[in-house]
Assembly symmetry: C2
Homo-oligomer: 294 residues x 2
Amino acid sequence: MSVNGGLDRFINQIAEGDCRELLPQLPHECIDLVVTSPPYADQRKHIYGGVHPDEYVEWFLPISAELKRVLKPSGSFVLNIKERVVNGERHTYVIELILKMREQGWLWTEEYIRHKKNTYPGKWPNRFRDAWERCLHFTKQKQFKMFQEAVMVPMGEWRHARLRKLSDNDLRRDVSRVGSGFGKRVANWIGRELAYPTNVLHMATECYNRNHAATFPVDLPAWFIKLFTEPGDVVLDPFIGSGTTAVACVRLGRKYIGFEWNPEYVRVARERVAQETSQPNLYTFAEERAEYEA
Amino acid sequence: MSVNGGLDRFINQIAEGDCRELLPQLPHECIDLVVTSPPYADQRKHIYGGVHPDEYVEWFLPISAELKRVLKPSGSFVLNIKERVVNGERHTYVIELILKMREQGWLWTEEYIRHKKNTYPGKWPNRFRDAWERCLHFTKQKQFKMFQEAVMVPMGEWRHARLRKLSDNDLRRDVSRVGSGFGKRVANWIGRELAYPTNVLHMATECYNRNHAATFPVDLPAWFIKLFTEPGDVVLDPFIGSGTTAVACVRLGRKYIGFEWNPEYVRVARERVAQETSQPNLYTFAEERAEYEA
DNA sequence: GTTCCGCATGAATCGATAG
DNA sequence: ACTATCGATTCATGCGGAA
């Protein structure tokens, strides 16, 4: 075993196995961010033996306890989850989980909303299409690492319309003030046109990976990785599926640790990471792409 | 007392008083829809006496019990609420309330998200601006009245027509334009393709309202009134504030029952309703107004 | 008559200060 | 130690006067 308690052999790897067995192999407080989209209740019952909604909390609590152990005190845990409809009602396992995790010592710091523009089609007599999911933000301390400037967004259209009317001199002055950052990053834009985002995320649901169906778009973990970690930090996804979190880490220069029970998903995840590593500029983030086209 | 158990004297009235005392005066199962935005914990303490977050559930449960009694079996209860941040954490009183109301016999049928485009500004080290609120949908039965066609929205081309106007402005913010449109008059979109909305509602909060700030825009109760009632139905708002729900009812041809503890708000509410009744076409819904001007 | 711009105004939250 | 108050921070929106 290596000097750092066995962390090295997991770094930048997709480990095949049940996270309930793999998590205990990680040392204490070695993770900067946990971001994951666990198997929804009863959704992927071939994985993890099929978790019934009524048993979901009981199943998840030992995992969240381990996640708390391996997370650094300054770290964050982002849980992307949504309760199923059971018997005509929203099931309560998610909100029960929040209460139980607080009893474990987690702080329920915030709840981000992920708005899915393009939702699965369908029609029911008593509800509309479900177009949002919870991104629960848990921390161990009231103070934690957060880099808000990394995810700033352009301001509203009204302001842009006004700025467009600025004279050439005004524009030149603004540009010079920022310096000649030939960056493609949003953060390098003129400061006055940037604003901090809100806790409602409008993610592009379009998947640009033609080969594989990613369960969630790269933009989602990427946003939280930029927000809660620095380059070189370690990101853990205990249910990494087809490797989306790992892909985001590679693009952003973070280290990843991925666990996945399903051998086929492990294969797909490793393949995606390898492709991403060998052709790092093939795919870009949606916002960067839009920026380039503008 | 009238033949229908005392309902008549409340119909189309703003009654001044504490809803805990007024609700028992209503007969059983006489209401088609309850839609309300109760005083948030500790937010308007100068007006409502200030309900501490730790006591919020205990305070609200007797009220929800009465609401269940007066609601028709086919009716709905829409509760617009959002938990405060207390000591750096999201407080749990809302999710605890959901669990307790289920114990009362309510069905937690759905949770709609109200996305507030223009949210209160501010910057903090550990969170972004809060841009969403919950619209909890409770029912007494699995089957209830729902008129989905009444809130259908146009799809397809007007989104593309608007998109051309976007420059480098982000699509994320503009999603609000193409989401679940509020207050759209379906008649104006005859011949166009209509789609059902989702459970994410986009709207701007009204600010700088001359006649005192409406705590929530008319479009919000109007949307649920159209969705869950027919013309002539009875809508109850036990915390009607400045009368927004009553205004929506007048515009939509529904009967309203409003309770309000604060005498000043009662006065404002009655004034708004009177103005709405005497000049029914003076104000229109925001979306319709924008549509007309376009 | 339009368009443009200044300005006030929010269901907010944190951290410091005061009692 | 615990609670109450206050200043600082920040941005989408609509009104009203100006160009």
